[in-house]
Subunit: 194 residues, 2 copies
DNA sequence: CTTGCAAAACTAATATCATTAGTTTATATT
DNA sequence: AATATAAACTAATGATATTAGTTTTGCAAG
């Protein structure tokens, strides 16, 4: 029984590969153990069961997502930053559909690592959005809007929800353009129901 | 062994209740059988296993969603219709989070019932969006955009992804207003990257 | 009213999971 | 070199879905 030399991070990386290649439903401890050449119970030396693994994957996914979008927006601001961030975000969800899915896990009460990873992304989006000159509350609403757009687009794209034969990149670019134009045109009376 | 008198629709309804009350991960054949007072294998007389049940739930969910949004938009058009549809859509996801989740299942090749149910919703949204005077392709992109917004918002709302203490209904109204304003302001040059 | 049949329920069995308990052994530390 | 810690293991349990085969119900045809 030669030691396999596993550690937590190795497990998370291997699980992320499984998730991206075969989908999250294929991420079982049995499959992960097989991939790593050990027996399932051995994994418990490094992770807190399947639930713990999923949380670690979520944190890892958020960190990776942050890396990608922060690098993409470096040195940019305004519209260019929003577009760059959006492209990077969707690029990530395309490259890592399984890992991205884990990041949507609702954080348990007091899960500081997960909250921190999510918070960094939130701060970055706020910073990008704040270039449009809304008030503080307006910024927060606009950030929620952008996140909704990006998450919604990626989900529908990934599960083939867009049946129509129409270029998806064009849809994304138009969607972001439209949203930015809306922010610009509405100014501060965004609440009014017309 | 008195006959329970089950049928497919009863199973789907009961499964939807489980999904909405306890989440989709709680929808197991074991739990469903217990709720209905039979043994798990008995369910196979009415459904094609768990996978078949999920497909039926997806179709049922899409039909319910269509009912809700088509009723909400009846007699309305333009902005009012978009807002009414959005409110109805989000109202449905709030009232039936579990059932809504099943509707996101990627349709298998040749799953005509699921495709039909999705198609009706798509047609309705296209009809509402077409009031804004875009060309045919523009309409389709705009529909994708609205669906992204609504799905993204509902997902993030449901799993608590909006950490900030800010009224969610305000966010939704502003988001829709912003999107509509964007469509109005951009007109047909939505593709341009600046 | 009886007979028979199809369908709906059942029991029993299998395979796959996750998880826990307890054991062995490799590696690092003293 | 001795020991302790931790990483791997085996064995066992309980939940799940699913299949095969059996019983029985309820209806329908004679």
């Amino acid at each position: 029984m030669a030691r396999a030399g596993l550690d937590t991070h190795t497990l998370v990386l291997a699980a992320a590969e499984l998730a991206d290649e075969y989908g999250m439903e294929a991420v079982t401890l049995a499959a992960l153990a097989a991939k790593l050449g050990v027996r399932s119970p051995s994994l418990y030396n490094h992770i807190n069961g399947l639930a713990g693994l999923r949380t670690l994957m979520a944190v890892y996914g958020l960190e990776q997502l942050y890396e990608v979008i922060s690098e993409a927006t470096e040195g940019l601001s305004g519209e260019a930053a929003v577009h760059a961030m959006s492209q990077a975000y969707i690029g990530f969800t395309r490259a890592h559909p399984g890992l991205y899915q884990t990041t949507l896990k609702a954080p348990e009460q007091g899960d500081t690592a997960l909250e921190a990873a999510g918070g960094k992304i939130l701060s970055l989006i706020i910073q990008v959005i704040s270039a449009f000159g809304l008030d503080e509350e307006g910024n927060l609403h606009a950030v929620r809007g952008l996140r909704s757009i990006l998450h919604g687009f990626s989900t529908l794209e990934h599960q083939g929800g867009f049946g129509m034969p129409l270029d998806l990149n064009v849809t994304l670019t138009r969607l972001i353009n439209t949203y930015i134009a809306g922010i610009r045109c509405m100014g501060s009376d965004a609440d009014s129901l017309k």
